[in-house]
């Protein structure tokens, strides 16, 4: 298995939307390399005949009748938002052009 390096961490941080300083990237790369190394035995534990289990109990799809239940009001839903306007979440621009 490939080791994790600083460039990997920088790329992953970008994917995860977490800005990281140079120092943080260096530190994280070292720590994660040790952690990844320690868990590599996991890939040797089971052969191709062992099925994967995603969940401790078998899951079934849960459906309900299509009736209106108790839901949050717009005011309640917006109550913890960092910014809102006209009854909606207000977000910065998605594209760089303004």
């Amino acid at each position: 298995m490939a080791a994790i390096n600083r460039d990997d961490v920088a790329h992953l941080a970008q994917l995860a939307h977490i800005e990281m300083s140079d120092d943080e990237l260096d530190r994280m790369a070292t720590e994660l390399a040790v952690i990844v190394d320690s868990v590599k035995s996991v890939s040797e534990a089971a052969g191709p005949d062992v099925p994967a289990t995603s969940h401790p109990i078998p899951l079934t799809n849960v459906m309900r009748e299509d009736v209106v239940g108790h839901v949050l009001t717009a005011e309640e839903a917006l109550s913890g938002a960092p910014d809102s306007a006209d009854g909606r979440f207000k977000v910065p621009a998605i594209l760089e052009e303004s």
């Binding site: 890939s43 534990a45 401790p56 309640e76």
Partner: protein, 517 residues
């Protein structure tokens, strides 16, 4: 009975006194609020609470007293106060998950378990401290400062539910709720000398518990006696249509099992892989004594092997961060919590998200999100996440084979007693090893209970004994746990928590030491 004696009794004893009219709920809640005031705050306090809910707790208590005076039929635990881990959302009180990103956030709804506490009329004393988003084994990763172990204020109270366990151990609350993803109820229980239970996966609704790793997380009780945990699990358990993983056939008869407490003819399996090498000598000694006590009470003790448990820690540290990286994507500075603007460059939502998550998340959370993103990334998915899910199958098979031979399994709950604050903070791997004995139960969804097994010879600190049962057989844990608890109390001359040093004096000494340093 004076206030000090009152707060040291069990929740079931408090309930009996309330029912008999010997005390009022207002007196009981006030006694706990006074205790919190005396030992929790300041730089040298236990710091089990992030928020104390004085006004509402007293109002609920007064309401219970009025209803009881009017001879209204009430729940057995009505009027008995409780603390709630701050990962569980509550209306009218802040919920932070121990993170800066949710500082000051108020949930617009109650978690199902909180609704059930309110329906049972249990006053909520406040919200307890935790490792940020429940990521940690020591409560040192809280953005609001660590909780201290009531046995020794320089030591960790376990994690991530250190606040809940410490509150119960410090007699600040008779009961608390925790969440257990890899041992976050049981490991803090072990190092603080309290009882903690991770119920069968799905037996208690997770609706309103801020998710870390959804296939592993489980809400459960923290208490000072086995019976108290059983009573609390009966309050919070049961099917919930708002949680798609909630079991429809949840465990029943838990308190009755704790009251029955009989192990005659039961087979108890010692997990070969979960003791011995790597476990502190004093932990091993107490564990072996517990086996002898159970044998003396008529149980048959046999050794069983779970050969794949050696892979559990590695599999857990791939599955948990993978699920966490996905669950924590919702903290994006848009719908709730803080928003941080980048100091330079264009102000796009993507960059605001990056800056918000950089400022709002602590190191351990970032570490796990990055690790999870890596484990799930194309090219590595099969090697990491896929392999870990296969190990999960092997762990389930190990449990199934073991439970064909025995009724319950037993091991130490944690390999060591409480370590010093800061001791393992810079070594994530060493920290992760603390959960080695508790993680297999989460991977397989089986229930687990920890109870205090005495004090270690080396340091006089509490040792936890863990019991594990097949899924949906939570009652078995309470039945065996109650027997072991009474045998251990007989051996130690009373509850293990009675051996703890006087906390008020510890807080004063610690404050003086801090002032001089």
């Amino acid at each position: 009975m004076n206030a000090n004696e009152l707060i040291r009794s069990s929740a079931s004893a408090m309930a009996a006194k309330l029912a008999a009219g010997e005390i009022t709920s207002v007196e009981l809640v006030q006694a706990h609020l006074d205790r919190i005031g005396a030992v929790d705050g300041g730089d040298s306090g236990v710091h089990a609470f992030l928020h104390v809910n004085t006004e509402e707790a007293l109002a609920v208590a007064a309401d219970v007293d009025a209803r009881r005076a009017a001879c209204e039929q009430l729940h057995e635990l009505a009027g008995v106060p409780i603390a709630v881990k701050d990962l569980i959302v509550t209306r009218g009180q802040p919920t932070t998950a121990g993170s800066k990103i949710l500082e000051g956030w108020m949930s617009p709804y109650d978690a199902t378990v909180v609704k059930k506490l309110r329906a049972a009329r249990m006053p909520i004393l406040g919200k307890t401290n935790l490792d940020e988003f429940a990521m940690g084994s020591s409560t040192e990763h809280s953005a609001y400062g660590p909780t201290r172990n009531p046995w020794d204020l320089d030591r960790i109270p376990g994690g991530s539910g250190g606040g809940s366990a410490a509150a119960v151990a410090a007699f600040e609350a008779p009961l608390a709720l925790g969440t257990d993803t890899g041992g976050s109820i049981r490991q803090p229980g072990a190092v603080t000398g309290t009882v903690g239970v991770k119920p069968t996966y799905g037996a208690v609704s997770r609706y309103g518990a801020i998710a870390m790793a959804s296939s592993l997380d489980q809400i459960g009780p923290v208490s000072r006696t086995v019976l108290d945990s059983a009573l609390l699990q009966e309050v919070i358990g049961g099917h919930d249509p708002q949680d798609s993983t909630s079991l429809t056939d949840a465990s029943t008869g838990l308190a009755a099992a704790a009251r029955l407490g009989n192990v005659k003819g039961m087979k108890i399996g010692v997990i070969k892989e979960l003791h011995g090498e790597g476990y502190q000598g004093g932990v091993e000694n107490r564990f072996n004594e517990s086996l002898e006590l159970l044998r003396g009470a008529g149980a048959e003790i046999v050794e069983v092997s779970c050969p794949n448990f050696g892979y559990a820690l590695g599999a857990y540290y791939l599955i948990m961060p993978s699920e966490a990286s996905s669950n924590l994507a919702k903290f994006d500075g848009v719908r709730f919590g803080m928003r941080t603007l980048p100091t330079e460059g264009p102000l796009t939502i993507e960059r605001v998200m990056g800056a918000t998550r950089a400022a709002g998340f602590g190191d351990e959370v970032k570490r796990r999100i990055i690790l999870g993103t890596y484990a799930l990334s194309a090219g590595y998915y099969d090697a990491y996440y896929g392999s870990a899910q296969k190990v999960r199958t092997l762990i389930q098979r190990d449990f199934a084979a073991a439970f064909e031979q025995v009724d319950v399994l037993i091991s130490p709950t944690a390999p060591t007693t409480a370590f010093k604050l800061g001791e393992k903070l810079s070594d994530p791997l060493a920290m992760y090893l603390n959960d080695v004995a508790t993680i297999p139960a989460n991977l397989a969804g089986v229930p687990g209970l920890t109870l205090p097994g005495g004090l270690a010879d080396e340091d006089g600190l509490p040792v936890g004994i863990q019991l594990l049962a097949p899924a949906r057989e939570d009652a078995r844990l309470y039945r065996v746990g109650a027997v072991l608890e009474s045998l251990l109390e007989a051996q130690w001359g009373g509850p293990i928590l009675d051996q703890a040093p006087p906390l008020a004096e510890l807080v004063q000494t610690h404050a003086a030491k801090e002032a001089n340093s």
